[in-house]
Symmetry: C2
């Protein structure tokens, strides 16, 4: 039978500008853009990029902070069917260089703030990085922009670190973004007056997904250049923001700034991701009447895949909820589905789940089996089917909402000529939730100071990945098959070091 | 690339009952059912139907009025993957018999009110019609109900009359219903407290689509046995109903009943379908602050495909709006797309559009070309792209929200042995919007009274299709190729007949 399953549809930006041209699409840098304006600006830039020669399928790396330029470019690049690759601006130059090369970027664009960092790496590429100003000098190509899109086409490649080796580029189609937005609206609802605050980075899924929802829902995205608790609270209290995406550390700083004041009635959702939140924080929110919805998701699921429903937000404090309407979830251990109460690996499926990793068929086959994504995260279901996340992947450290994979930091440490082997783990931290700390065993006869080693890491890793302390040890804890036991590392900290100076 | 496009997903009823078991799914016949209860009741009936032998793909005809039994059966039948065929209870026994036979029904179910009507026809079938009570005596089959569904599978066959010949069964997949519900939510929004009133029949798309949205959104459907303006107003004012689906005549009777009173703030949408509404009615709504959203849709589009957005509901009074987010629209005349302001045939496309008519490949190929549905309706777009519907299909009469196709009534009239030829057209009517009137030329030497002919029609046609008057004439207006000119029929009414007794 004929069935149009909706994989082809009107182009979101054009359609949205046609349906609700006068609605506010964006509030950013003191400006308000309607959907008509957004389409015009993105359209003009798309024609310039086409004038330069950008084509469908080309990858465009963006090394930019939140702002009108980044939003415009995300829509302009994808308007042409090219693929946007937003890089984490906190990465070290070497990390950036690696990702630009891995993705086979045809072009990359940096903003003023990140030009120096880009300059440190672009020497190694045939093509240079462009600034916004340079792009505006490209001639506009006379062309009709596409009026339709296919949900099967690639929209984004977003890098994420794994438990081993280099970061992997998560491939996200228009369809992944679509289904993520639809799953969210069926849980959180949609008020024509909704405004969703992105004070999280647009280069993360949590931020980018707000832009996608804005187009699909016809909803205003309020975009802050960076997270500032006072500014976030001002947007809620004075600018009509009704939903905010946060991680635990952001939320606790917002509550601190809020002090004795309260949020207005129109504020209806504090969407809390980035790993399990401390019970004390959730209870403070309950007391203040802050509507917290815990959520669980990752780049591979195009943001949320499990979120608490409104009616359960208080009753199931601490749970991430149930898999959203089009999604499914299992708890698996050694190939067997576990009953409620038993902890195992969280395995998810749904149309928002990535098809795989860029040019990594092996990693893709390892992570995605029969449509199920093996997240590597640990959790359990209660008797009613609510998910409780125990640990974000084995050994994963979440510092201020950023993922830090011990293996990646260990790889840098062991690359140093003086280091024989290294172990990295996380330790709880008042402001950032967790911070990485390192343990190294030096090669026989070598010597190096902690400062030298930290400096070495700082040149090769984003700041949030650099261990806050590095301890020199004579052995690392291993199991029988000689595998590093990261959870036992903390016991190696010398007595006087515990609770030491920086934390 | 791997891409899960969402054609397979968790079964809506099971998923909804798992996500929000305690939410109210239904308010009907003085009972409130949670989604958990709805799943249990539908599940029990599904196991009984399976016990009887019902299988995936079987067609089950329902000849029932709005109520808990009908809702339960719709969900029970489709829970097994069988196809629900809700018949218009106003049809005449002969019409019912024809549709039951055409669809190849494996089973049919009637409620008490419609048993006599069914009894008049079921004699001609190998299988009898069952009552609810008979179904409850079937043994429950021990089985696991399916936990997943495919959007490509058939959910409903709903008969609709056309400009020529017998009614056709519109095939609607789960996907058609899904995309219709999603398109609607992206326009109207969704409040977790929304309650949508179905006082329209569940055997029509307008009613059935409310049941579908209820499952997908987790929203309460308030179901009335039949339309009663006072009861509808009570549900809005006292029962939290926030959205109501109406046609023009229902709306004007609700306003009359409302009198000097007003609707409360939570009432946010009067979804007005069933053809162009009189400007005076829309203006009365504007004065009373009634939030009217005109919409355009049909069985073939699984309800709405064009609806006004909230911000345009007053500014564009009289327009049906713009095609919803996943949908497209053209105005076509003789194969050419017309510019704004020029009237032509309304042609639509989208994932909510039917794949075709049951066992009618010719009618399907005629109506659906390259994914575009040729509606036969006339309309034009204004400069901003808003649709104005001029006429529901050529010559279509809409009487109290029901479609009456002149050709169908003419076919019955000309089947009478005394009648040589017949013409039917609509005339405006204070209560019903329009009513059909007939014109017949008798065979030479034949004679028959108007009463006899009306009785003949009453036995073969639903009451609303029976002409309110039949005039005997000596000729019918034709064009050069001898085609009936229905629009000129009204001129044949004898002077003294105009504005006559019954209307």
């Amino acid at each position: 039978m004929l069935y149009n399953n909706g994989t082809e549809m009107p182009h979101w930006l054009a359609k949205r500008a046609s349906l609700t041209p006068e609605r506010i699409a964006l509030i950013c840098e003191g400006e308000e853009w309607t959907f008509r304006r957004l389409e015009e600006e993105a359209g003009r830039m798309a024609r310039r990029l086409a004038g330069w020669g950008l084509k469908k399928g080309d990858r465009v790396v963006l090394l930019m902070g939140n702002g009108l330029h980044m939003v415009t470019l995300i829509h302009a690049v994808t308007r042409l069917g090219a693929v946007v690759v937003p890089l984490n601006t906190r990465l070290a130059p070497e990390e950036i260089a690696w990702q630009v090369e891995d993705v086979g970027a045809r072009m990359w664009v940096v903003d003023e703030d990140h030009e120096p960092k880009a300059a440190a790496t672009w020497r190694s590429f045939g093509t240079t990085a462009y600034t916004w100003e340079e792009l505006t000098r490209f001639p506009e190509k006379e062309m009709e922009l596409p009026s339709r899109l296919s949900l099967k086409d690639l929209h984004t490649i977003m890098y994420t670190s794994g438990t081993t080796g280099r970061p992997k580029g998560v491939m996200l189609t228009w369809g992944n973004h679509w289904w993520s937005a639809i799953a969210s609206v069926l849980n959180l609802g949609l008020d024509p007056r909704d405004r969703w605050l992105a004070s999280v980075p647009l280069f993360h899924m949590s931020g980018l997904s707000i832009l996608m929802r804005s187009l699909i829902y016809g909803m205003t995205a309020v975009i802050h250049p960076a997270f500032d608790p006072a500014a976030a609270n001002r947007s809620i209290r004075g600018e009509g923001v009704s939903i905010v995406s946060v991680v635990g550390t952001m939320l606790s700083r917002m509550l601190e700034d809020l002090g004795e004041k309260f949020y207005p009635d129109h504020f209806r959702c504090m969407l809390l991701g980035g790993g399990p939140a401390p019970k004390s924080l959730l209870e403070r929110c309950k007391e203040k009447g802050v509507p917290v919805f815990q959520t669980y998701g990752m780049t591979e699921t195009a943001s949320q895949i499990v979120t608490l429903a409104p009616e359960d937000s208080l009753r199931k404090l601490g749970s991430a909820g149930k898999p959203l309407f089009p999604s499914e979830l299992r708890i698996v251990k050694e190939g067997v589905d576990l009953p409620p109460g038993e902890a195992g690996e969280i395995v998810v499926r749904g149309p928002n789940v990535t098809g795989g990793y860029w040019k990594r068929p092996d990693a893709t086959m390892e992570a995605i089996r029969e449509g199920w994504l093996y997240t590597g995260d640990l959790g359990y279901l209660d008797e009613e089917g609510f998910l409780y996340v125990l640990d974000r992947r084995t050994d994963l450290i979440i510092s201020g909402g950023e993922n830090v994979y011990p293996a990646e930091v260990e790889a840098v440490l062991t690359a140093h000529p003086a280091v024989e082997e290294a172990g990295v783990t996380g330790r709880s931290h008042e402001v950032w939730g967790q911070v990485p700390i390192g343990f190294v065993r030096l090669k026989a006869g070598e010597s190096i100071t902690e400062e030298e080693l930290l400096h070495y890491c700082g040149e090769r890793l984003a700041r949030y990945k650099v261990p806050i302390r590095i301890y020199f040890v004579s052995h690392l804890p291993k199991n029988a098959s000689n595998k590093l036991l990261r959870r036992e590392l903390l016991q190696l900290i010398p007595k006087e070091g515990k609770g030491g100076r920086d934390w």
